[in-house]
C-alpha cells in the first residue's frame, strides 16, 4: 500500500513540476532561454528517471526485480503525463499565447510543495514501519536463538565449572615448547605417519607438568552434561573464543598425554585420557554455534587419531571402549544454522538501523567485497539518509532472500548427506558465485558448504573409529582379524556403519600389513583405501589397524555390543 501511495505521489509531483516549468518558461520573453529552461527542467527530470530505471535494472541482482518493475511503470506513466502536459500547455489558446502562460505559477508551486511534503510523510511512515518491523525481527531472532540454546543442568552434572578450572591451569601454566606449534598438526593430522616421539623428554615433562589439568579434564569429561552460561540473545565474540581456544589446547594435551602414557607403560591412564577426549566432543558439540561445532569436530579428530595410534601401539586394552555415532551433519549443523540465522537477523536489523558498531564491523567484512554491498559499510550510509531508503525499498527483498536461503540450508541438512550432494553443489553455484542475492545478504550469508563437508567427514571418522573398535573386539574374541566385515556385524556391532558420503557400508581392505578401513571421502570416489591428499583433494578417509602376528585373545574380550 505504501509503495502504491508513494508511486502516485511521486507521479503527481513530477507532473506538477512539469506544469510549473511550463508555466514559468511560457512567460519568458527570450525564446532561447525559455527553451533551455524547458529542456533542463522537464527533460532533465525525465532523463534522471531513465537513468534511475537503468540503474535499477543493472542492480536488480542485488535489490530484486520488484523495484525495477515499479520504477519502469512510473517512468512510462510520467512519460505519458509529461507529453500530455506539454501538448496541452504549449498549445495556443487563441493562436497567440500558449495556454501554460495563463496557469497560476504560485498555485502550482504550492501544490507541488504540498505533494512533496505528502510524499515525505508517506516515506517517513514507511520508514517507521520498517524500523518497527526490524525491532520485531530482533525479538524473533532472540527467540530463535533461545529455542536452540542448551538448557541449564544441575550443578553436580555440569562439566563447565571443571572445564573453567582446566582453562585457568592451562592459561597459568607454561606454554608448550614453541617448536611443537608446527608439529601438533603433524602428530594429530589425519593420514600422516604416526611419528610422535612419545619418549621425548620435553614432551614427557610437559605432560607430567600438566597432569593436574588433564585430571580435571578427565573429571569434567565424565560429567553427563555441560552448560556454559552464555547470553545467546546478545552474543559477543568474547563470549566464546577464550574458552574454545583453551578447549583446543586441552584436546591436544589429552591426545599427547595418552600417547606418552601408553609409551610409558601406563595403559589404563592412556585409555582414560582417550575416553575423556571422546567425551569432550558432545560437551562442545551441543553448543549451537558453528565455531563450537567446528571445534568439536577437531576434538573428535584428535580423539580418533589418538585411538588409531593406541591401537597400533597394541599395549592399551581398548575393547571395552564404546563409542556412540555422531550426528554432526544431521543434528549439530542444523542447530548451528538456526543460531546463525538468529545472529544474521540481528545483524540485518543492526545494519538497517545504522548501528555504528555494526557499521564498523561491516567495513572489516566488506574489504573483500566488490559489489554495491560496500555502501552498507560507509559511514555516510546513515548520515545521508541512505539507510532510510534502504529500509523502505531494498530491505524487504533482501531480508526475504536471506530467510529463504537459510531455510534452504536447514532443509538440505535434514536429508542424508549422500542424498544432498547435488543440492549442496547447486547451492554453492547459486549463492557463492555472484548470483542474485541482496546487498546485506551478501555480507551476512554464510558460506557453509565447506563446513558441511567437514561435518560429514567428522561423522565418517567417528563411524570408522566405531568399526575399528568392533574389529578389535572381533580380534580379541576370535584371535584373528576378520577377513571381511560380514564377520564383524552383527556379532560385534549391530551393523557396519554407513559411509555418509555415499550411503554405502564402510569398506575394508588389507594392505601392507594393515587393515585399512575407509570411507570414499568428499570426492565420492572409491580410491581403494588410498589416504586423502589435501593438495590433490582426492583420496579416501582411512583408519589403519596394524596386523601384528597372531594375537592371543584378551581375557575380557567378550564381543560386547556397543
Amino acid at each position: 500500500m505504501g509503495f502504491a501511495m508513494m508511486w502516485i505521489e511521486a507521479l503527481a509531483g513530477a507532473v506538477l513540476w512539469t506544469a510549473l516549468v511550463l508555466a514559468v518558461v511560457t512567460r519568458i520573453e527570450r525564446r532561447r532561454l525559455a527553451v533551455v529552461l524547458c529542456v533542463v527542467g522537464i527533460g532533465g527530470l525525465w532523463l534522471l528517471s531513465v537513468l534511475a530505471t537503468i540503474g535499477m535494472a543493472l542492480l536488480a541482482k542485488y535489490i530484486g526485480w520488484n523495484l525495477f518493475a515499479w520504477d519502469l511503470s512510473w517512468l512510462l506513466a510520467y512519460s505519458v503525463g509529461a507529453v500530455i502536459m506539454c501538448v496541452v500547455g504549449l498549445r495556443s489558446a487563441d493562436g497567440d499565447q500558449p495556454r501554460a502562460a495563463s496557469w497560476p505559477r504560485g498555485g502550482i508551486a504550492v501544490a507541488f510543495a504540498a505533494v512533496l511534503v505528502l510524499y515525505y510523510m508517506t516515506f517517513w511512515n514507511q520508514d517507521l514501519a520498517a524500523q518497527s518491523r526490524l525491532a520485531e525481527l530482533r525479538a524473533e531472532a532472540a527467540a530463535r536463538a533461545l529455542s536452540v540454546a542448551p538448557t541449564r543442568v544441575p550443578p553436580d552434572q555440569n562439566a563447565a565449572p571443571l572445564y573453567r578450572d582446566v582453562f585457568t591451569i592451562l592459561s597459568e601454566g607454561d606454554d608448550p615448547p614453541e617448536r611443537w606449534n608446527t608439529e601438533w598438526t603433524r602428530w594429530l593430522k589425519w593420514d600422516e605417519p604416526i611419528d610422535l616421539d612419545a619418549s621425548d623428554p620435553d614432551l614427557v615433562a610437559y605432560v607430567k607438568g600438566m597432569e593436574p589439568a588433564a585430571a580435571l579434564a578427565r573429571a569434567a569429561a565424565a560429567k553427563p552434561d555441560c552448560y556454559f552460561d552464555r547470553d545467546y540473545g546478545r552474543p559477543g565474540i568474547d563470549m566464546l573464543l577464550p574458552e574454545l581456544s583453551r578447549i583446543g589446547q586441552m584436546s591436544r594435551l589429552l591426545a599427547v598425554s595418552a600417547r606418552v602414557k601408553a609409551a610409558a607403560g601406563r595403559p589404563d591412564a592412556a585409555r582414560a585420557d582417550l575416553e575423556a577426549l571422546f567425551c569432550i566432543t558432545p560437551h562442545v558439540e551441543q553448543e549451537p554455534i558453528l565455531i563450537s561445532a567446528l571445534v568439536a569436530m577437531v576434538n573428535d579428530r584428535y580423539a580418533v587419531r589418538t585411538l588409531e595410534a593406541l591401537l597400533a601401539d597394541g599395549t592399551v586394552p581398548l575393547t571395552a571402549v564404546t563409542l556412540a555415532p555422531t550426528q554432526f551433519y544431521n543434528e549439530t549443523l542444523p542447530r548451528a544454522f538456526r543460531m546463525e540465522e538468529a545472529f544474521g537477523l540481528t545483524i540485518f536489523s543492526n545494519i538497517a538501523l545504522g548501528d555504528p558498531s555494526t557499521v564498523a564491523g561491516i567495513q572489516a567484512v566488506a574489504t573483500g567485497c566488490s559489489g554495491p554491498e560496500r555502501v552498507l559499510a560507509s559511514p555516510l550510509f546513515e548520515l545521508t539518509g541512505c539507510a532510510a531508503v534502504y529500509r523502505v525499498f531494498i530491505l524487504p527483498p533482501d531480508l526475504g532472500f536471506y530467510v529463504r536461503a537459510m531455510h534452504r540450508y536447514q532443509q538440505v541438512t535434514a536429508m542424508p548427506y549422500h542424498e544432498a550432494q547435488a543440492e549442496w553443489e547447486r547451492i554453492e553455484r547459486e549463492f557463492n558465485r555472484g548470483a542474485e542475492m541482496g546487498m546485506c545478504s551478501r555480507l551476512v550469508f554464510p558460506a557453509l558448504s565447506g563446513a558441511v563437508k567437514h561435518a560429514a567427514t567428522a561423522d565418517a571418522r567417528r563411524a570408522l573409529a566405531r568399526l575399528a573398535l568392533a574389529i578389535e573386539r572381533c580380534r580379541a574374541g576370535t584371535g584373528t582379524y576378520p577377513e571381511s566385515l560380514d564377520a564383524v556385524a552383527p556379532a560385534y556391532i549391530p551393523a557396519v556403519p554407513r559411509d555418509p558420503f555415499d550411503g554405502q557400508p564402510l569398506r575394508m581392505v588389507r594392505r601392507d600389513g594393515h587393515i585399512v578401513l575407509y570411507s570414499v571421502g568428499a570426492d565420492l570416489k572409491d580410491d581403494g583405501g588410498m589416504p586423502w591428499d589435501d593438495k590433490e583433494d582426492t583420496g579416501d578417509l582411512v583408519f589403519r589397524l596394524t596386523i601384528p602376528g597372531d594375537a592371543a585373545p584378551e581375557r575380557d574380550s567378550a564381543p560386547a555390543a556397543p
Binding site: A142, D231, P356, S357, T358, E382, L383, A447
Partner: protein
C-alpha cells in the same frame, strides 16, 4: 499626431484611435491610489522588526528548520559521529582468533562469523538468561530498556 512615415489610410486609423481613446479613470481613483501610497509609505517607515514581511520570513524559516529537525530525527541518527574504528579492529582480531580455533573456515568466513558474533553489541530489549548486561552502544535510546529475568 500621426507618424509621418505611415500611409494615409494607416494614418487615418491612427488618428481615429487617438480620438478620445480609452476610458478616463473614475473620479475616486486618484484619492484611492494616493491613500494606498500613503499606507505603503507608512509601512515603509516602520522599523524592520515591525514590518510584517520580516515576521513572515522568520515564520517560514522556523517552519523549514522545524521540518528539517523532524526529518533528521526520524530518519535515524544523522548527528552520529563516524563509526568507532576500534570496533572494526576488534572484529578483525576476533576473525584471526576464530581462524585459530576453527582453521576449517576461510578468512572471509571467519570475518563474517566475527560480525555475526557482534550481533549483541547493540543493546536491545531481548529475553536473556540472567546473564550480565552485555555491551551497549554509545546512544542512549539503543540501550536496553527492559531487563527480563532468567527463565
Amino acid at each position: 499626431m500621426s507618424r509621418p512615415d505611415l500611409p494615409a489610410d494607416l494614418a487615418d486609423v491612427e488618428r481615429r484611435l487617438r480620438a478620445g481613446r480609452g476610458p478616463a479613470p473614475s473620479s475616486a481613483h486618484r484619492a484611492r491610489v494616493l491613500a494606498a501610497v500613503g499606507d505603503a509609505l507608512a509601512a515603509r517607515r516602520l522599523p524592520w522588526f515591525r514590518r510584517p514581511v520580516v515576521w513572515q520570513t522568520a515564520a517560514a524559516a522556523a517552519v523549514v528548520v522545524l521540518w528539517a529537525n523532524v526529518a533528521v530525527s526520524t530518519l535515524g541518527r544523522p548527528f552520529a559521529f563516524p563509526s568507532d574504528a576500534g570496533n572494526g579492529q576488534a572484529l578483525r582480531a576476533g576473525a584471526v582468533a576464530i581462524r585459530t580455533v576453527a582453521p576449517q573456515l576461510s578468512e572471509e568466513e571467519a570475518r563474517r562469523q566475527a560480525l555475526l558474533l557482534r550481533a549483541g553489541a547493540a543493546g536491545a530489549a531481548l529475553p536473556r538468561s540472567a546473564a550480565a548486561p552485555g555491551e551497549g552502544s554509545g546512544f542512549t535510546h539503543w540501550k536496553e530498556v527492559h531487563s527480563w529475568g532468567s527463565p
